[in-house]
């Protein structure tokens, strides 16, 4: 029996374990935001090229996820939230994750270059480097601002999607980047407020650990306030319109209300109701981002079909 268990520990992982290394949930967000970035661009793309490009962007994101799991295997083992990932669970060897990450990084970048253009491919390569090296290897364990700067990696996909169509960067793609970039800190700090034990046990310098929960609550509010003009500003560019603006107004008002509620609470109150407000804010943050990009997509659809008779905003 023991020799079989030994085999289980040395690379007899199932196919699903390798898929799990690519962080499929993160990939789904990347697919969605990159697709929106591609579809709202003023240049039309052949559907096959668009499909291939989105798949290769997702593959690149998966590759950086595998590299992140390889590097963070030690802290993943300590944290409750990540303990069941393939490496800490003993299903996949760290070296396999590294190999898979490097191989898929190369394949995704080269294939995106061949499918779309080399600018978007270089952008994807930079994003993988940023997430795996700048965020995972450097910032995550060294500064409480890890989430802020690391959030840039998750914010690049719509810019890459835009670059696939246009071959460059525009104010619209920068605003889509800024929307995710500014959204990331309140999203993750809300999570950190009710998952604090995990981060302190893994000795990750999350803001809640280094500066305390009161400071984290202030930061959540500050970033949410700064996020609102970015989100609304996108509505006045060529990708915006009345539908997006109406959605952004409502969503930002609700998000701000949640952030104010978090700011006004202290730990005693939060502990008493099991961090209900923080958890609700975290769940709403996912909807917030999804609906913003959904509204941008709706605007692109309305423009394409000439609904409301506007060809631009």
């Amino acid at each position: 029996m023991s020799d079989i268990r030994a085999n289980e520990m040395t690379g007899e992982a199932g196919f699903g374990d390798y898929v799990a290394l690519l962080k499929p949930r993160v990939m789904s967000l990347v697919v969605f935001t990159a697709l929106v970035g591609l579809l709202v661009a003023p240049v039309s793309v052949h559907p096959m090229v668009a499909l291939a490009s989105i798949l290769f962007i997702a593959l690149g994101a998966g590759a950086s996820g595998a590299l992140n799991m390889w590097w963070d295997a030690d802290i993943d083992q300590v944290m409750r939230r990540t303990r069941s990932r393939p490496i800490p669970a003993g299903k996949v060897e760290p070296g396999e994750a590294l190999g898979l990450g490097i191989a898929l990084s190369g394949i995704s970048v080269i294939m995106l270059g061949l499918a779309a253009n080399w600018f978007s491919a270089a952008f994807l390569a930079f994003t993988i480097f940023f997430y795996a090296v700048i965020y995972s290897m450097w910032l995550k364990r060294s500064t409480p601002q890890n989430i802020v700067i690391g959030g840039a990696a998750g914010a690049f996909p719509p810019m890459i999607g835009w670059a696939v169509a246009t071959g460059g960067i525009g104010i619209e793609s920068v605003l889509m980047f800024a929307l995710i970039f500014m959204w990331t800190p309140p999203h993750f700090w809300a999570l950190a407020l009710f998952m604090n034990d995990d981060y302190s046990r893994a000795r990750i310098p999350m803001l809640t650990v280094t500066h305390g929960r009161a400071a984290t609550r202030r930061h959540v509010l500050a970033y949410t306030v700064l996020l609102a003009p970015v989100a609304l500003g996108a509505g006045f560019t060529s990708i915006g319109g009345p539908v997006y603006l109406a959605a952004a107004l409502v969503l930002n008002a609700l998000f701000l209300r949640g952030a104010v509620a978090i700011w006004r609470r202290d730990e005693t109150v939060a502990e008493a109701d099991g961090y209900a407000v923080e958890k609700r804010f975290f769940r709403f943050s996912l909807l917030y981002l999804f609906l913003h990009f959904g509204a941008l997509l709706a605007e692109a659809g309305l423009r394409a079909f000439g609904v409301f008779g506007y060809a631009g905003w």
Partner: protein, 61 residues
């Protein structure tokens, strides 16, 4: 202990192989579709191949 053919280990290995096969088939289909799309769209797909081409010669002048 001897391993029978249908041991859980073999099932997992077979699942991995089938998964990889499907991924490779999907990749081939994707590259094929991409090639068809690029060829249909036209563009410059003819390169110098050591024979005289009036089209290329005229451009050089």
């Amino acid at each position: 202990m001897t391993l029978s053919r249908d041991h859980e280990l073999h099932k997992r290995r077979a699942g991995r192989n089938i998964g990889l096969a499907l991924v490779l088939v999907a990749f081939i289909a994707l590259v094929f579709g991409l090639t068809v799309a690029k060829v249909q769209r036209g563009g410059m797909i003819e390169a110098f191949d050591h024979t005289f081409r009036p089209g290329l010669a005229e451009r050089a002048e």
